[in-house]
């Protein structure tokens, strides 16, 4: 039997607010343990939460950017479960009236667009961090708790089980990440745990609609782990089903070192979260006018930007997708072409030499040594014919190392293209005289032989001769 996978994601994204969701403690990463804590986030007896206004704004923006309906009446609830990283032993979250519902994002995989529906987006607080004395939680005789992260605001973005492959899930998560970056509500640093996913996977025979038994994997914190865990789980479930077995509904954990998922042998007692309305937090009521104002404030989102890049500038869908996947990259692109640089050339340079250099040095686009303005100026030099594309590579490398403008580099290093007909003709004549064989070949009908001669001319001009003129002048001489 052929099976198809049914995959849903719950993405947790930490918001880039200054303070926690219910208290004034700083959210900044990397502080000494238990120094960003106060009576409120420690859950001391008697404390009360007060909602950070910016969290609600960010949540509404995220909802609008993912085509959700913003609920005009939304409230917080308590989700009760005992765990030492949760000081109150309940997580303040949202249950039946989340801030946003019924959205979607479109993803493109293998050239096809697919719509992934969002069930809901809700606000909640993050838990603390456990540090174990052993290598894993279970082989540690004791654990230590740091509550700095307790109360950092989170958005939980829940999808419908609309994905059917690891690639789709990855693309979906990349798309959500990109949207969150565009609207500037999360740093999305996966290595810092800003963005992580719980995923559920089930299989069903192709052509059927009933959902199979699903397994869940929690806290996946890289795109690679996401793809690997899904691929492994699809394979594992397929084998179980083909052997006539059945899937056990359970939470499994992804072991990246071994590349497998493992049953967590959780207690059979199902979680009963006993959700109840949070009596300490009044409801959030919004008006259509407020929502409209937020909608107006949204920046251009990835899909719109991609459409602009293909439509207005003629970029390929692929190039446009790569450039708009990251807000920073897209903004860099816009800054490169703002003074008139050719958009296609700009895309080529950004995705080519620039990306290569950044990767090699582990840098992000934000700390690129070549600023958008200088790259734009260099591309203009190519278009004007001042330098050839080949020379441009040298200029680019110089720009990488020095803050000089491309014009200065070209001048200082004598890299100006030779466009003087007389000067080129002199080299052409010398090359013809010194290379009788290719000349004879050419004149004997092997037109390809001109390539060797062009190479010689370029070499003797140290690459500075305008290649188009070299071709033209050589051909004219040889035809004489």
């Amino acid at each position: 039997m052929n099976y198809e996978a049914v995959i849903g994601l719950e993405i947790h994204s930490e918001l880039k607010t200054n303070t926690k969701i219910f208290c004034g403690c700083a959210t900044s990463f990397g502080a000494e343990q238990n120094t960003h804590v106060c009576p409120v986030c420690l859950g001391l007896p008697g404390v009360l939460p007060v909602v950070n206004k910016r969290v609600v704004e960010f949540a509404i923006k995220a909802g609008l950017a993912t085509n959700c309906t913003i609920n005009n009446y939304s409230k917080f609830d308590r989700k009760n479960y005992y765990y030492p990283d949760l000081p109150k032993n309940f997580q303040t979250s949202q249950y039946d009236l989340p801030i946003a519902e019924h959205g979607y994002v479109d993803i493109e995989v293998d050239g096809k667009t697919k719509r992934i529906r969002l069930t809901r987006i809700h606000m909640e607080e993050d838990a603390g961090k456990l540090v174990h004395s052993g290598t894993t939680i279970k082989d540690s005789a004791t654990s230590n708790v740091d509550y700095n992260r307790t109360g950092v605001p989170l958005l939980e973005i829940v999808s419908e089980p609309d994905m059917s492959s690891a690639a789709e899930a990855r693309t979906y998560m990349e798309k959500v990440k990109s949207i969150l970056e565009y609207i500037d509500v999360s740093n999305c640093r996966m290595e810092q745990g800003n963005l992580r996913a719980d995923l559920n996977v089930s299989l069903r025979p192709v052509g059927t609609t009933e959902l199979g038994t699903r397994t869940e994997m929690k806290n996946i914190n890289s795109f690679k782990a996401l793809e690997d865990a899904i691929s492994y789980e699809i394979e594992r479930q397929t084998e179980v089903l083909e052997d006539g077995g059945h899937i056990v509904q359970e939470t499994r954990t992804w072991d990246p070192a071994r590349g497998i998922t493992l049953s967590m042998r959780s207690k059979e007692e199902a979680h009963d979260y006993r959700y109840m309305p949070e009596p300490d937090l009044p409801p959030i009521v919004t008006t259509p006018e407020q929502i409209e104002r937020y909608r107006q404030e949204l920046p251009e989102l990835p899909d719109a930007r991609q459409a602009r890049l293909t439509g207005q500038y003629g970029l390929s869908a692929y190039d446009a997708a790569v450039i708009t996947a990251s807000r920073q990259l897209a903004e860099y692109f816009d800054a490169v072409i703002v003074d008139g640089a050719d958009p296609k050339l700009a895309a080529n340079w950004i995705m080519g030499d620039l990306a290569k250099n950044l990767n090699a040095e582990g840098k992000t686009i934000e700390d690129s040594p070549v600023e958008a303005k200088r790259l734009g100026a260099m591309i203009l030099l190519i278009s004007k014919g001042t330098i050839s594309s080949k020379i441009a590579k040298k200029v680019f490398e110089e720009m990488w190392k020095s803050p000089d403008d491309p014009e200065k580099i070209v001048k200082d290093k004598g890299l100006v293209q030779i466009t003087d007909t007389k000067a080129i003709e002199a080299i052409v004549d010398a090359v013809i005289a010194a290379n009788p064989k290719p000349v004879a070949d050419y004149q004997g009908g092997n037109k390809k032989a001109i390539g060797a001669l062009v190479g010689q001319v370029m070499k003797q001009s140290k690459g500075k001769a305008n290649p188009a003129m070299v071709n033209q002048l050589l051909a004219a001489r040889l035809e004489q």
Binding site: Q33, T251, P283
Partner: protein, 96 residues
């Protein structure tokens, strides 16, 4: 009896309480008597009644996103039953 000993024990587990065998019967019968008493609510028609969570209507109460001083770590840890290197220390964790 509406409430069985098993029901009482289940709710004790949810409550992270363990009721000693000697007290089980008493807790069970008290829970049962209580639930029998609150049965009177069943006679109140509430199909068209909205639930009330808040004593009085308040809405949209927010705080500006401005950092306030946190506690000194020593103050945060002062009541800890057990601590280590600036952390709260807890016994082995088996379930996740």
């Amino acid at each position: 009896m509406k409430v069985s000993k098993k029901d009482m024990e289940n709710v004790a587990v949810l409550s992270r309480l363990s009721i000693p065998e000697a007290e089980a019967a008493q807790y069970t019968s008290q829970l049962d008597a209580f639930l029998a008493y609150v049965e009177n609510l069943k006679s109140v028609p509430t199909d068209s009644v909205k639930p009330t969570t808040y004593a009085l209507p308040v809405q949209n109460v927010f705080r500006e996103d401005v950092v306030k001083p946190s506690l000194e770590r020593e103050a945060a840890l002062a009541n800890a039953p057990l601590r280590e290197d600036g952390y709260f220390k807890v016994p082995r964790i088996l379930e996740e």
